[in-house]
């Protein structure tokens, strides 16, 4: 069977037009919604009603919008960490585990406790932040080291470590620090709560019930720092060079093994900070399922943002909306399916950036 025409790919030699990467990302999101709609239709659902509900549940009120930003906060931090690692072609899928480890380390400050609970709030929270960063970095070190030293595929190790982290976390919340047998620790003292806008409700009634907390500032600051590192620092240059052309980086005398470990630690540290921000800003204790697959959504966020730190923020907000709406939507796997479809389409649409696609008639070819 031969079609009268064929699709031909030619490698782009010219610069990629500036609008094209953005267009492919937007196209991927739109197409993912269309495909998900078709799947919904095929199982007898009503896509228009579901997506309409989706939009109202997420952007319908200030309260809902603040919920989105709260959900976007860990995604921003994790997305930034992932994009840093991905730039060097280190595929860190372990943000989920690094998030849990960060949360665990940070909670130790309160649970052990490492400082008396009548210390100033700034001290407690800063120490928790440092511990969160440390926990994530230690957990990122393991796959980075194994990759650098033994050439072990980091995708699989980071994934396996995700499972380990969840069981580790469970041991402490079920066993050592359980609150009267429940699967959670007792609620933290108020000194270990990140400030929320709702705290200001007395002076400004507008803010009553607004859950937005300081964690989002961590995300914004981190975005600026990562951008500065990538754009102006020597280390950022090394990361980009190793990602684009490892051979050239090696000839240039860059220590690739050291950078692999370092980038995984920083990537893990950001996820760990996200874990700290989540337990101090949202749940106020260590418990099961503090993450609604943030680790995986963060991976998708990074790619959809084409590894650009500021775009990560925007995409995180979109995904925050998906998560917020996904909580109330049936079927419950829908938001996960949309995210998965988006990622797959983003990856495959990459071909548009590298190749020119033309349709050639077979007759012309012969002539």
């Amino acid at each position: 069977m031969k079609l009268p025409f064929r699709v031909q790919l030619t490698r782009r030699t010219e610069e990629i037009p500036k609008w094209l990467p953005l267009a492919t990302s937007v196209g991927a999101v739109v197409a993912a919604f269309i495909i998900s709609g078709i799947v919904l239709l095929s199982i007898g659902g009503d896509p228009l009603r579901v997506f309409g509900f989706f939009f109202r549940a997420s952007f319908g009120s200030w309260g809902a919008f603040s919920d989105i930003i709260v959900k976007a906060t860990p995604l921003i931090l994790i997305g930034l960490g992932c994009s840093l690692a991905f730039r060097m072609n280190m595929i860190n899928i372990g943000a989920e585990g690094q998030f849990y480890m960060g949360a665990f380390f940070a909670s130790l400050v309160v649970l052990v406790p490492l400082v008396p609970m009548d210390s100033p709030r700034v001290l407690v929270l800063s120490l928790m932040g440092v511990m969160g960063i440390l926990g994530g970095a230690v957990y990122g070190f393991i796959p980075g080291f194994l990759k650098a030293k033994f050439n072990v595929n980091e995708v699989i190790t980071t994934l396996m470590l995700n499972y380990v982290a969840v069981f580790w976390n469970n041991y402490w919340i079920f066993g050592k620090y359980s609150d009267a047998g429940f699967q959670m620790t007792p609620t933290f003292e108020k000194v270990a709560w990140l400030p929320r806008l709702a705290d200001l409700a007395k002076q400004y009634p507008v803010f009553s019930g607004i859950t937005l907390h300081l964690g989002v500032v961590f995300g914004l600051v981190a975005a600026v720092i990562i951008w500065l590192i990538l754009k102006y620092s020597r280390w950022g240059y090394e990361i980009n060079l190793i990602g684009d052309n490892p051979k050239a980086a090696e000839y240039a005398g860059i220590n690739i093994a050291r950078n692999m470990i370092l980038v995984m630690m920083v990537s893990g540290a950001l996820a760990g900070l996200a874990g700290m921000s989540e337990i101090t800003g949202v749940v106020h204790r260590l418990q099961e399922r503090i993450s609604t697959n943030y680790g995986f959504s963060g991976v998708i966020v990074a790619w959809l943002a084409k590894l650009n730190p500021f775009v990560v923020i925007l995409v995180s907000i979109l995904f925050g909306a998906l998560i917020v709406a996904g909580r109330e939507i049936q079927p419950s796997g829908l938001s996960f399916m949309i995210q998965g479809t988006i990622l797959f389409l983003v990856i495959s649409s990459d071909v548009l950036l590298r190749y020119r696609i033309s349709i050639v008639k077979r007759q012309e070819e012969i002539a």
Binding site: S36, I91, I156, T157, M160, N170, F174, I347
Partner: protein, 321 residues
């Protein structure tokens, strides 16, 4: 806790890993690494269960599971073979896609009863004393299929002509191309077979070995363990079988260890403190990492293992492998 029980449970649940790993061996031998095994298994498990539930025919379910895994793998095929996308990233996104699809399409199947594949004794072999009772009696039919597929895959790869072509395409595609082997077509075929095997592995869970649909917990990371096994086994079927059965036994062992008050004459801590069980549950995942470290470092040192063109897209007329 008895050794025989653990061994038999290991043979049964190990079959799941072996199906998925054998499929991945074939795909990777042709040069296509597919990290989407977990997603393909899940969609296979869902499709098999759904069809076996609606038709009440387990064989139709099996077919659906196999095809579902295969069809999903073709998405990875197009993206990596024709579009030359990064195989790691594409495979990963395939896992997300497959998981999401399976969760949505499998909505409402939890707790339902589907038709399941039969258990049977192998005539003659099952009457061998001890041996026959352990290996050839009262197993699900798919367990026996696993016994057959392991040597068959080895024979196919190493002793047949198509197997030689398969290796050529994965080691040096440009040379294979000059000999008139269609590199693209073979890669598509083996990616598809790999997907079908992953779908089979999923079906083996949901309608045969531990029947039921438990959304994403149905596979709970086994697809990733299967990929790690392939590396550990240096892309060879027999070590994959050993590893698969071992992991199966380990799973049962960690469950059974919680029962007795003493173990090997010592006080059994897992009986007295049930929270320690969380550490038992970590062991398969930690062992996977250890196996992976061992497999990867020996592969590099002894220059054994990974097909040379694994992960490298083939572009006709361009320099490269």
């Amino acid at each position: 806790m008895s050794f025989e029980v653990i061994l038999r449970a290991g043979l049964a649940t190990g079959t799941i890993l072996i199906f998925a790993s054998l499929g991945e061996i074939l795909a990777e031998r042709s040069g296509v690494m597919n990290l989407g095994v977990e997603g393909m298994m899940l969609i296979g498990a869902m499709a098999a269960f759904k069809v076996a539930f609606t038709t009440q025919n387990a064989w139709l379910g099996l077919l659906a599971g196999i095809l579902a895994g295969g069809i999903l793998s073709l998405a990875h095929g197009v993206v990596t073979i024709h579009f030359q996308a990064d195989q790691t990233v594409s495979g990963l996104s395939l896992t997300f896609l497959g998981t999401g699809l399976a969760l949505v399409l499998g909505e409402g199947l939890t707790g339902k009863n589907a038709a399941i594949l039969p258990k049977l004794d192998i005539p003659l072999l099952s009457s061998i004393p001890w041996f026959g009772r352990i290996f050839f009696s009262d197993f699900n039919i798919l367990v026996y299929l696993g016994y057959i597929l392991v040597p068959l895959t080895w024979f196919y790869i190493h002793k047949t002509r198509p197997g030689m072509h398969l290796k050529a395409v994965g080691e040096k595609p440009s040379a294979a191309d000059t000999l008139g082997i269609n590199v693209y077509r073979l890669r598509y075929i083996y990616t598809f077979i790999g997907g079908c095997m992953a779908g089979l592995a999923g079906a083996a869970i949901s309608i045969a070995i531990s029947p039921g649909w438990y959304s994403s917990l149905t596979t709970s990371g086994q697809g990733w363990i299967a990929i790690a096994l392939v590396i550990f086994a240096h892309w060879n079927p027999f070590p994959v079988a050993l590893g698969g059965y071992f992991f199966g036994m380990l799973r049962r062992f960690t469950l059974d260890l919680q029962g007795p008050m003493t173990f090997l004459g010592m006080r059994n801590p897992f009986f007295y403190d049930h929270n320690l069980v969380f550490f038992l549950q970590m062991t398969p995942f930690i062992l996977t990492i250890i196996a992976l470290v061992w497999g990867s470092s020996t592969a590099r040192r002894k220059r054994r293992g990974a097909p040379a063109a694994l992960g490298v897209p083939y572009i006709r007329g361009e320099r490269g492998l």
